[in-house]
């Protein structure tokens, strides 16, 4: 099972509306928030593990945190819901951790129900792969980086599904998304038995498609259209290592 649902299983609704609806006790809202949470829980999990919570505890904390999101009405205040879902989530999680005794107790009283289904085992294996390549010990930066990668992976997954009918084209050309070395186009054209111009056009189109998909992916995690570019800039800095 993939960690994050593939792009076509988008969260239905804008995140702040989802949160308000869930807090209003609307089943639809609850459901939508759960699907949003399932899409983006992994960086939170990494954050908890980075703070030395055991895998088991991290899972419990995530479940309890989800309940906290639904039940804590003050989170639904409009001023808190401006900006990126990323910042909102990590901010809430920190607050939650500072007060976790209380919440954890409530969660245990509630029978430690699995409110939202997440596969922490898969998260754990991914974390192992991930941190091996991660020299920085800063847990918060790691959170942002995992978030950025998740967004990117969702967009790449979408892009790949656009090429589902010709996976070999995707495999051969995806490298050119970031690579401007046009000298290599002819190798690929030869390998795929198409003309050079076809490769050029396809790469150009693929870049455009990816740009669009990525922007939409980011659009889902901000509260207003004008925030898209800001969020993108932030994520670029994160990935470029400038904020390390």
């Amino acid at each position: 099972m993939p960690l994050a649902p593939q792009g076509r299983f988008f969260p239905d609704t804008h995140w702040s509306l989802v949160l308000v609806a869930a807090q209003d006790g609307e089943p639809e809202g609850h459901n939508a928030l759960a699907s949003l949470f399932r899409a983006y829980w992994y960086p939170l999990f990494g954050y908890l593990r980075g703070h030395n919570h055991s895998q088991h505890d991290a899972e419990d904390l995530l479940q309890a945190f989800f309940v906290h999101l639904i039940e804590n009405q003050t989170l639904g205040r409009a001023d808190r819901m401006q900006g990126a879902f990323r910042g909102f989530l990590i901010g809430c999680l920190k607050y939650f951790l500072a007060n976790q005794q209380e919440y954890a107790a409530a969660y245990k009283r509630g029978g430690r129900a699995k409110i939202v289904s997440i596969d922490v085992q898969a998260g754990e294996s991914r974390l192992l792969e991930d941190t091996s390549a991660d020299p920085a010990a800063d847990v918060e930066r790691a959170f942002d980086r995992r978030w950025a990668r998740l967004i990117m992976e969702r967009a790449l997954g979408e892009l790949e599904s656009l090429y589902a009918a010709r996976p070999e084209v995707y495999r051969a050309l995806k490298g050119f998304l970031t690579l401007t070395d046009e000298a290599r186009y002819s190798d690929v054209a030869a390998a795929l038995s198409v003309s050079l111009s076809v490769v050029k056009t396809t790469v150009h189109r693929m870049r455009k498609q990816f740009r669009e998909l990525l922007r939409r992916e980011v659009a889902m995690t901000v509260s207003a259209p004008h925030e898209i570019d800001d969020e993108l800039r932030h994520l670029i800095q994160v990935l470029a290592g400038e904020l390390l």
Binding site: P11, G111, K114, L156, L214, A224, L232, I236, E242
Partner: protein
């Protein structure tokens, strides 16, 4: 996931120098992310990314396409409005950008464009002009004239007692609305905030038609909190019982705005938006003169006339409203009064004779086939026009005797149902009992049991030139034939027949239908490919048999159908259904549940008015242990189509698995009543009946199940233990083994069967169970340990079991509710298990299992 990384140069990206520890799938993450910034505006985007980013600075100066934002003016459930400078034109405009979530509503972009383009055509001094329509990051936007004078909502207090000014503003607004109505554009969301003023103080109506998207999809995705204010919504916008949304809905809203201007309060005010919403259909607003004695009674009467619950009792047009207001301004007599009096008398008359509209032009020129009328009883048909009608459609009989054509028996009518169900005044119930019991309806059975008042049945024969279909319409109560028609379709194009039966039915029943529904009957409305339609019908028929080979063949046909016509929503839906029912070897394309979910989502996106995809999504969610999500999907499916046997069946299985046995039984009974020819629903009904202990009925149902040749999962055999029908066990295990990893030598189940049947043999059976524990399906182990009375082992297995991606979950775990497995239910640990599996959470929201009770947070089952 460590593919080749062509760009690696040390640990840094060769293009941008970012550390490659952040690479994704071999690609530099920072480079990828930068791609999204290109072309998004000005060249400085490349440099500005290097500036440190802090917090969320103000909107000012940011760019959206060709617009530079000045500030944010308003934010609603639907869009965000900025004051912005249009750089190409150098003017200040209002820029409305859709909120991101709307992207995910079906066909949103396309519908938005169509609608906004229609609105952009409007040219009237009282309508806020739209300058440009575009898209940004996939989000549609449009720019409008910036109205300096603010909204009417900000002027309500100032206008108090200024009766003439109020009448003058509302007359102008009504004229503007009339202009739009004349061009086929409804506003749908008239409210003070949407009536703006220009610098000269002239009113401008804004946001025409935009609310359509919100209204249409509110059931689908939107939380009530995003619905906006319901104070100005007409009853028909809330409940279909008041009729269609139309120009009269806007007239209602104008009345509500007028009422608020006159009295300072909207006509209907609840404690919160939701309560207001509930009040609209029933609460009759007080005359404004009761609270404001100084209010001119003529204006009061005008507002109240607009606010009539029934659209027909309001002004006939926005122009008529404008004229009345203008007459009042000139000191003349308003029409509202006399019409209000006349209305009270007419209301009684109107109830007696329902308005009937015969669709002229439906039987038009250009039919390629001939239609012969044998008999028509126009009088009888007219007597049946009390709306709503309940129509039963029975499967047609194959008189030709060629089994190759059997797929036509139910397929043509099944398909017809999709359209007929769109007719709101007509309740359509599909029956497949026609296959086995023709003429049942004449005995009045349908009339009595389902309240059916008319029934359609028929037969067909294949001839050299094509297909001859004879259809008959019956009065279900009297058994009287109302009409009989014969249709001839050219060979190979069944769409003709479908269209003809539909149009004839609609005409004969004298049902009032809108253009949108009428268009759906059209020959090419469904698909332009006759071959696609034929394949689709064949696949539908095959799916009903629910055998590995028929499902595989149906999936093949449907994939071909989709290749021929990728937009045929029903083919996507049918394929989803097919994969949801999948049994046998895994389909080559991948996991059948994921395929089912995928195609269901595509079908729902292509056509949100069919219920089947939601039922499939519900089933997929239920299988994956998302019980709450499943319930919501099923409710959605039921809301769209409460009489679909497949939806009822899937829902029943879901309810069964969560232990809501009574509810499950009701659903499955309805499903089988509507379609007594499908083997699987019959089998589940038999299982449920066995579980609740009605043994005689259960034996009868198992006999029927066997007669229908249902596939025989082991779970069904176990269920039959309760009836003492033990002979099935040895026969059914081998079939089960073929779906597990248990190696050949261990498949000898004699010890297990002996243990299940004889308490003295249980120890040996348990030993055998332990020997296969590593390979066996956990659901199998849980139910079988329970059958052997070993609650400890059952719960030990259950401890680590996750309700995820387990195909056997339904079939096997339904048995945790059977009388034979009570031993685990009585164990105190069972309650904890139910908590962990999310059952308790589900029960709290939707009602507990019949065998369980929740008290003080703990669960007790029996």
């Amino acid at each position: 996931m460590k593919p080749e990384t062509p760009e690696r140069r040390g640990d840094r990206c060769s293009s941008c120098g970012a550390p490659l520890s952040t690479s994704i799938d071999g690609l530099c993450g920072a480079c990828l992310m930068r791609l999204a910034m290109l072309d998004s505006g000005s060249p400085e985007d490349r440099t500005s990314i290097d500036q440190p980013f802090e917090g969320w600075p103000s909107v000012t100066g940011r760019r959206i396409g060709n617009y530079e934002l000045v500030d944010e003016i308003a934010r609603g459930g639907m869009g965000i409005v900025y004051r912005a400078r249009q750089l190409t034109a150098g003017r200040i405009v209002a820029l409305k950008v859709m909120l991101p979530y709307l992207l995910h509503l079906p066909n949103m972009l396309q519908r938005f464009r169509q609608e906004v383009e229609a609105v952009a055509q409007l040219d009237h001094v009282g309508i806020l002009p739209i300058y440009e329509v575009g898209e940004y990051a996939g989000l549609p936007f449009f720019s409008m004239k910036f109205a300096d004078g603010g909204g009417l909502d900000g002027r309500i207090d100032k206008l108090k007692f200024a009766w003439r000014e109020i009448a003058a503003i509302m007359a102008k607004v009504a004229r503007a609305v009339e202009h739009a109505h004349g061009r086929g554009v409804l506003h749908r969301d008239l409210k003070p905030a949407n009536i703006l003023f220009d610098a000269a103080g002239e009113p401008l109506v804004a946001d025409f038609g935009i609310a359509k998207f919100r209204a249409h999809d509110r059931a689908l995705t939107l939380p009530a909190s995003a619905l906006g204010s319901p104070h100005y919504m007409a009853p028909e916008q809330i409940s279909a019982q008041f009729g269609e949304i139309g120009p009269a809905s806007d007239i209602y809203s104008l009345g509500a705005v007028l009422y608020e201007l006159l009295t300072g309060q909207p006509p209907i005010v609840g404690d919160d938006p939701l309560k207001t919403l509930h009040l609209v259909p029933t609460y009759v607003p007080l005359s404004g003169t009761k609270t404001s004695p100084e209010l001119p009674i003529d204006l009061d009467a005008i507002a109240l006339k607009c606010l009539a619950k029934r659209p027909a009792e309001r002004y006939a047009s926005a122009a008529a409203l404008a004229s009345d207001l203008e007459r009042w301004l000139k000191g003349g007599e308003v029409s509202a009064w006399q019409q209000m009096r006349a209305r009270q008398i007419r209301r009684h008359v109107a109830r007696a004779a329902t308005v009937v509209l015969v669709i002229a032009g439906l039987i038009g020129a250009g039919f390629l086939w001939r239609r012969l009328e044998f008999k028509s009883d126009a009088l009888a048909a007219r007597q049946l026009t009390a709306v709503p009608q309940t129509l039963a459609v029975l499967a047609f009989r194959n008189l030709g005797g060629n089994t190759q054509d059997d797929y036509l028996t139910s397929s043509v009518t099944d398909d017809l149902l999709y359209e007929l169900r769109q007719i709101r005044s007509l309740a359509v119930i599909p029956f497949r009992i026609g296959l086995e019991a023709s003429g049942d309806f004449r005995s009045g059975q349908l009339a009595k049991q389902f309240g059916v008042n008319v029934a359609l049945d028929g037969d067909f024969t294949r001839e050299a030139t094509g297909l001859k279909v004879r259809a008959r319409l019956w009065d279900a109560r009297s058994g009287k034939k109302l009409w009989e028609s014969e249709f001839a379709a050219p060979a190979g194009d069944l769409r003709e027949v479908r269209e003809q039966i539909a149009t004839t039915l609609v005409t004969r029943l004298q049902i009032e239908v809108g253009n949108d529904v009428r268009e759906q009957f059209g020959r090419d409305a469904l698909t332009q490919s006759a071959a696609a339609y034929d394949k689709y019908l064949r696949a539908r028929y095959l799916i009903r048999w629910r055998r590995p080979e028929t499902l595989a063949e149906a999936a093949r046909l449907l994939r071909e159908t989709i290749a021929l016509d990728p937009k045929l929503s029903r083919a996507h839906s049918a394929l989803a259904y097919c994969y949801a029912l999948w049994i046998g070897p895994a389909p080559p394309q991948g996991d059948h549940w994921l395929l089912a979910r995928d195609f269901a989502q595509r079908a729902a996106a292509l056509n949100p008015t069919i219920g089947e995809p939601y039922a499939v999504l519900g089933d997929a969610a239920s299988i994956h242990g998302d019980l709450v999500g499943a319930e919501l999907q099923f409710r959605k499916a039921m809301a769209i189509d409460p009489n679909d046997p497949a939806t009822l069946h899937f829902y029943a299985i879901h309810l069964y698995s969560v232990g809501r046995l009574g509810a499950a039984l009701n659903m499955e009974r309805r499903s089988v009543a509507l379609d007594s020819t499908s083997p699987q629903p019959m089998m589940w009904l038999a299982m449920l009946t066995t579980t609740i202990g009605d043994k005689d009925e259960a034996r009868r149902l198992w006999q029927k199940t066997d007669d229908l040749g249902a596939a025989r999962p082991l779970a069904a055999a176990i269920s039959r233990l309760g009836l003492g029908q033990t002979e099935f066990l040895p026969q059914w295990y081998p079939q089960h083994w073929s779906e597990t990893k248990i190696p050949e030598p261990k498949r000898d189940t004699r010890a297990l069967i002996a243990g299940v049947l004889e308490p003295a043999q249980r120890a040996a059976a348990r030993a055998w169970m332990q020997s296969i524990e590593a390979e066996a399906n956990p659901a199998f182990l849980i139910t079988h340990y329970a059958l052997l009375g070993d609650a400890d082992s059952a719960l030990r297995i259950a401890e680590d079991y996750k309700l995820v991606d387990d195909y056997h979950y339904h079939y096997q775990l339904a048995n945790i509710w059977s009388p034979q497995t009570a031993v685990i239910r009585r164990d105190p640990r069972f309650g904890e298990l139910m908590q962990r599996w999310g059952f308790v959470d589900y029960w709290r929201q939707f009602g507990p299992a019949d065998l369980c009770a929740i008290s003080n947070g703990s669960v007790q089952c029996r």
